[in-house]
Amino acid sequence: MSFTEDQITRYSRHILLPEMGGKGQKKLSQAKVFVVGAGGLGCPVAYYLGAAGIGTIGLIDSDVVDLSNLQRQILHHTPDVGRSKTQSAKEKIQALNPEVQVTTYEERLTAHNARDIISQYDVVIDGVDNFPAKFLINDACYMENKPLVHGGILRFEGRVMTIVPNESACYRCIFKNPPPPGVVPSCQEAGIIGVVAGIIGTIQATEAIKLILKVGQPLTDRLLDFDARTTTFREIRVRRNPSCTLCGPEASLTELIDYDEPEACAL
């Protein structure tokens, strides 16, 4: 596959990069990235990956756009209120870059469908807003041996970590199990500065691109915590946990778990 004139122009600032070149751009155009959630994190992730010329972006979300989403979910515009988030997101990504194939799933990721969908992608992005889903994504990516870029946001803070199964610490190496329901506030309850979603989401997109290109050092075995109040990043070294129930030598988790879902978060 060779580039058209338009493609060379569109991606010229990428192609100029020695680490990317035409070869790297081609890799992006052949890559498939699965973005779980078309909300605060999923929007900037998918927007930038679309602009970058990722071949296929998978988007899963069962929600419709709410007016309270627009403060941060930048793929959704005012006329989209009430429409499906995946459809709204798909339209904007394809208006920006019609070459990107956007595959939408208007459903929730569950223990039943997760492995099957994830197996069809190269990299997975966590853009969900609840712990059961974050653990489900972590477990399914490990079982399907797919790299995952984890993200979390709350109030003025955010966190990113890249997980390469069997090579680096997974989410369960740090957090064994989801917290008891209701004890950790969600963005809906505690609020979120919209731009923090953009900061964390664009780091997640950067990690995905690096993983595809195999350039630099991924954010593995490091939790990157961001605090917007002081504009500081803190990096916390983590290691694979020998007692991890998912990826440790005596792992006991071999099946996906559908934890009790919290009441649907209309974030």
């Binding site: 974050k134 963005c187 290691r239």
Partner: protein
């Protein structure tokens, strides 16, 4: 003893990890604890003794995304 907790040096009169959690009024269910880059299992928080200059990280759940 002198400990570094989430990057900040603190002097606390404690001997185990659970003492630190109590001193700071942190619910052990809501935090993952790392001592010198090693994760401490929930059930070992009370038996993990600390040494002068240990580095502790309290990692709180951060679950938002949408």
């Amino acid at each position: 003893m002198q400990l570094t907790i989430n990057g900040k040096v603190e002097n606390l009169n404690v001997s185990t990890v659970i003492d630190v959690l109590k001193a700071k009024d942190i619910d052990p269910q809501l935090v993952a604890v790392e001592v010198n880059t090693q994760m401490i299992d929930q059930e070992n928080l009370g038996t993990t003794s600390l040494q002068e200059d240990d580095k502790l990280e309290f990692l709180f759940f951060m679950g938002g995304g949408a």
